[in-house]
Symmetry: C2
Subunit: 352 residues, 2 copies
């Protein structure tokens, strides 16, 4: 019941190399002050023993605290989606606080590019050791990435990806595939002659994410030679009145819409419209396990919700930086979340 003699440790390495533990330590942290000869000798022994530092002791002895910044949208009255990643971040922090890791959270307004840029500026001003960020705006993120490269600050993207910016990792959905799944789910209750409506409700019109989802969605129908017509609509005001007005018009023009696919969590607004206009026969699919959506799932207005484990994304985002900065182990570059299917029957056990 006693710990085995972990004969490997700095002390053992030092003994074998005929140096002090301080010198071994210098090599381990590649600090200066060691001759090439001894350095090589020590490194060889380290490899031979497959030395793994004791993180407990390391973190206990170190006075440095590691600060991580999290840059995510604030929880608006429109959607409480970002509650979940935030809670994942908190969970991760609680787990690694013992190791001297601290997180600072910065919130921006999803409808305001400026606030995004502002929060980035704030984070970069107080040089943190690592950053988890939801890259909502492409150009600003690009600039952010180059700044991080300069400072060699690792950063992780969550929720959506912008490739080729050398993020330490991406943790989030494969949007194309996610749209593909949405299309499949839509077909379960679809009549061959019914039209399909794609609804994109967002103030940001040029959003890269939505187009990828839509592409995947359409790809399914191409792959399966489905005869159904597809209609699409962009709604750039997110309030109910505007959405209702636009939808009324679309449904007026297209009498035979049998299914609707909403590319984000605002599906509850559409659900509300369908309910109010007595069109609940229309199949409805959208995104994210947020309160309002679950309500309409419960009452059969929404057929399916697609989710990508937002809580887990927050958790993993932080843990990826922890892996890199504390454990110093490698991190998977691309980390696609499962595409979860949530229905009236299984939602009560869904762990958002």
């Amino acid at each position: 019941m006693e710990k085995e003699n972990t004969a490997s440790g700095v002390k053992e390495i030092a003994r074998r190399a005929n140096v002090s533990t301080a010198t071994v330590d210098r090599v381990l942290h590649n600090r200066t002050g060691v001759s090439e000869k001894t350095k090589k000798r020590i490194n060889d022994i380290i490899k031979e023993l497959d030395y793994q530092p004791n993180i407990l002791a390391s973190r206990l002895a170190s006075k440095k605290i590691i600060t991580l910044a999290i840059i995510i949208p604030s929880v608006s009255e429109e959607t409480d989606f970002w509650l979940a990643p935030l809670s994942g971040v908190r969970r991760a922090e609680a787990e690694i606080r013992q190791y001297g890791v601290q997180t600072l959270t910065f919130f921006f307004d999803l409808n305001d590019k400026e606030s995004f840029a502002e929060q980035i500026k704030q984070v970069l001003a107080q040089d943190v050791h690592g950053i988890v960020i939801a890259p909502a705006f492409v150009e600003e993120t690009r600039e952010f990435a180059t700044q991080c490269m300069k400072r060699k600050t690792p950063f992780v993207f969550i929720d959506s990806n912008i490739p080729d910016l050398h993020s330490l990792s991406y943790i989030g959905p494969h949007l194309y595939k996610s749209g593909y799944v949405g299309a499949k789910l839509l077909t379960y209750r679809l009549q061959p002659d019914a039209k399909i409506l794609i609804i994109n409700i967002s103030k940001e019109t040029d959003n890269y994410n939505y187009s990828e989802i839509e592409e995947g969605f359409r790809a399914y129908f191409n792959d399966h030679v489905q005869p159904n017509d597809i209609v699409r609509i962009d709604i750039s005001e997110t309030d109910y009145q505007s959405v209702s007005r636009h939808l009324t018009y679309v449904f007026h023009l297209n009498k035979d819409i049998g299914a609707a696919f909403v590319t984000n969590s605002r599906v509850h607004t559409v659900a509300s419209f369908l309910k109010n206009s007595h069109r609940t026969h229309v199949s409805l699919i959208g995104y994210d396990f947020v309160k309002e959506n679950v309500g309409y799932l419960e009452t059969n207005v929404i057929d399916f919700l697609i989710c990508h484990r937002p809580e887990d994304q927050g958790y993993r985002g932080v843990m990826a930086l922890y892996q890199k900065l504390v454990i110093n182990s490698s991190v998977t570059r691309l980390n696609y979340m499962p595409i979860d299917i949530v229905t009236k029957e299984n939602y009560e056990f869904y762990q958002n």
Copy 2:
């Protein structure tokens, strides 16, 4: 960037109580050798400071290693299902090995009660600190539980539950609800006049799990006044020949079976039968993300797989004991896993 002065610690408590750290330590671990008076004084200060021991330092200083036993079915040639929980156990172990936690894994044969009892005996023989167990056989588990109560060894059930045995926690599916979800999924491709076949392939006939799933499955049809007839069959030999023979007979008796629901991971055997007998029009649903099943998902023979995150179950099972034994924090008694729906379209990102 420096750690704040964590003024709370045994040392601070000792200072305030005018005793040595050793005495505080005695109180913390309620060992003997402290007068009631000082004990109370120290306990008051501990409460006042809301003292949280530093686990890093604690585990570093302690020479005791904590041993956890894992009792799960072996990976048979029939199914590699238990690979997933095992991998979760390994992941948890890697994470907490640093804290001086060790796991020992014990495998039993799912088709052999004796081997189950034997492994339990082995575990109890070498008093471990905590146990994760898949309670495959009810009576043996009941005996096991009383033994554990006597020794005050905490144990966690994974994959299936036996209530009222005072397990520290149950981590696994809500089988009734899971069957309910299965029924819902089955209806997507179901004609009103088609019969539904429930298939239970298992050597253990008296299995509590399957009956719960089936109950949930039937409940759905009761709740939704579906007109379809339900036929059921028990097959107690698990090889393909036997299954094929039984199914041939059932399909001969019931010409209009439109959908089949298999209550466990042996759905691939049924899939194989349906394919060989050119009955792929029959809707097929079953359990678990195992290799063979995914193959038939890919080729559209299986419509849906229902999964309960077996990897996570293994991970959480170990971590629950860790929480209890090392962190000394409370553990959720009932931990229902999500009922995941896996299809051809989303399986590639599923994290088993």
